[in-house]
């Protein structure tokens, strides 16, 4: 028994891993602000592109931070500082609130769900996240969030419905007010574009160090046409508005490489950086853009993707229960 106790003691003696732990960061307001500022300084990807002087922003906001300040006040000051970046992918999450830059409010909404419900979505079908119907020989799909996964089987159902509809002339894919999610859903839609082969979509360079210009080499991304599965019939139109953001923005940018697709509506809202995250010493977390994506012609997509046919909703059309953007797309496909 003495030997066992001796060994137990030995086991406990070596069980002091905490001595190897670095000293924990303080959790007071000044420490939280310092870690927040440093995290962005070393991780945010668009300082140069947006011509933001992060050091001078610090001199504006740091004097407003003091230890013991209420959490709500600290959150408010930090949020104001983050909104200087004008980036919907920069969010501070405190538990009681999430900071958010309203990237879409500089443009008209260009979408009215009540109107869609009353005029265009009557008799629709829903397959997974896809609402679909046929409007006068034109297929129509509404996809409201890339957070909702599209399966290949669901796409088969929707595409077959359109392909088997007599006299179908084309399809409208409406992604207005889709604020993003998983880009793989956009990939699934675009892989069903006929005769598209292998497409170079865009290049991305990722932050790989703390300097504002520390990036990996640009890495190309490709989609391949899905062999054998049903393909979108006829002309293809994607409807966009300013609230089309993040994964939706990537989807629209990628679609630019497909000659069969035309984009109609407003410029997308942007969100061209992959959001990364870190935790602050008080348990709040921050996410921020950590990469830069640009199209093969060099256009950076952080501030959105221009449509081929730029059109806003006409208030007179709205009064007459018409969606100007859908009507333009219908005319384009029928022409």
């Amino acid at each position: 028994m003495r030997a066992f106790l001796l060994f137990l003691s030995l086991g406990i003696l070596v069980s002091c891993e905490r001595i190897a732990f670095p000293k924990a960061e303080g959790e007071n307001a000044t420490a939280v602000f310092r870690v927040l500022w440093n995290t962005l300084d070393e991780g945010y990807s668009f300082f140069e592109y947006k011509q933001v002087n992060w050091d001078s922003i610090k001199t504006v906001y740091e004097p407003r931070i003091y230890d013991g300040m209420p959490d709500q006040e600290l959150f408010s000051v930090c949020s104001q500082m983050l909104n200087e970046l004008k980036d919907g992918h920069v969010n501070l999450r405190s538990g009681f609130d999430i900071s958010y830059y309203p990237y879409h409010l500089d443009r008209p909404a260009n979408m009215n769900k009540e109107l869609l419900d009353h005029t265009y979505w009557r008799g629709f079908s829903i397959t997974g996240p896809l609402l679909h119907t046929v409007i006068d020989s034109v297929g129509y799909v509404y996809y409201g969030s890339f957070q909702r996964k599209i399966s290949e089987a669901q796409l088969d159902v929707v595409i077959n419905r359109f392909a088997n509809h007599p006299g179908i002339k084309g399809v409208i894919i409406d992604v207005r007010s889709n604020e993003g999610g998983d880009p793989i859903n956009g990939q699934r839609i675009l892989e069903r574009v006929p005769h598209s082969g292998r497409k170079l979509l865009y290049y991305t360079k990722y932050k790989n160090g703390p300097g504002h210009n520390d990036f990996t080499q640009p890495q190309p991304s490709y989609y391949d046409e899905k062999g054998g599965d049903p393909k979108w019939p006829g002309k293809l139109v994607i409807l966009t508005n300013r609230k089309c953001y993040s994964a939706c923005n990537f989807f629209v940018a990628a679609s630019k490489q497909y000659p069969l697709i035309t984009r109609i509506g407003d410029k997308t809202g942007g969100g061209g950086g992959q959001p990364n995250g870190f935790e602050l010493p008080n348990g709040w977390s921050i996410n921020f853009s950590g990469s830069i994506t640009y199209m093969p012609d060099g256009t950076i997509i952080e501030h959105g993707v221009e449509p081929d046919i730029h059109i806003d909703m006409d208030p007179m059309d709205v009064l007459n229960n018409k969606d100007t953007i859908i009507e333009t797309a219908l005319d384009y496909i029928r022409s």
């Binding site: 066992f4 086991g11 405190s94 890495q219």
Partner: protein, 260 residues
Amino acid sequence: MKAVILSFLLLLTCQGYGQQKLHYVSLGTGLTYRDFFDEAISLLPYAGTGVSGHLGFRRESPKTINAFSLEGSSFKLKGPHSSDLIPMKIGTTNLRLEYSHLRKWKNWKAWQLAVGGYTGLLTNVKLAYQLDNSAIVYDNLIQLGMGASATREMKMLKRQVQIQWQANLPLLFHTMRPPYLNRIEFIDPESNILADAWQAGKITTWGKSFRLQSILSLSYPLKNGNQFRLQYNWEMYTIHLGKRVAAGEHGLQFHLLFKL
């Protein structure tokens, strides 16, 4: 270089077969406690409890002790400010594949001392959901080093029990950590996280990577030569490749050893 080291590890793992005497297969389970600090996630330590499982093979001859084990554990860890409003939660899964080949060296008082080589694979995958695309963080260590044990037998509850303490100390590592900002290229459909991680792996030694493992066990004989084993594992490791990592784990396991 990597290929040479991995071939050497494989060779070490395979040697020693062909001898005879006692062979045991062990199955076990237990509870475990883990704490860690990972600068790629947070500047605060996380801690929590989990469950573990064990599958092992042990062979003892008059001259050598060979032990192979595969262990897995799963945890839900919390940070110091975790609440209903602030998640500060991390799910982690550990996998350890280990082999030691010890040669009995000499007796010291009632203790049988043995020393030899050790090789192992440690994979720790952490999921910090609150960190968006930086949520997946991993530590992967392929290790080569030395091991030592001290064993003695004594009478307990009318049976001859065996007490053993073994320590493993890797000297050379192949260390894999996530890239800057824990980047995973979700927007690239052809991205391969495993290939990227392997390519970014580094051969390291103390200073960049360190690990120490202590295994304290008490084996109680059952009928037919089988054994019941109570085992306390402790290990700690540190990695310093840009972002610092320090982790410790305490596990209490119960094993059944089946004599072959």
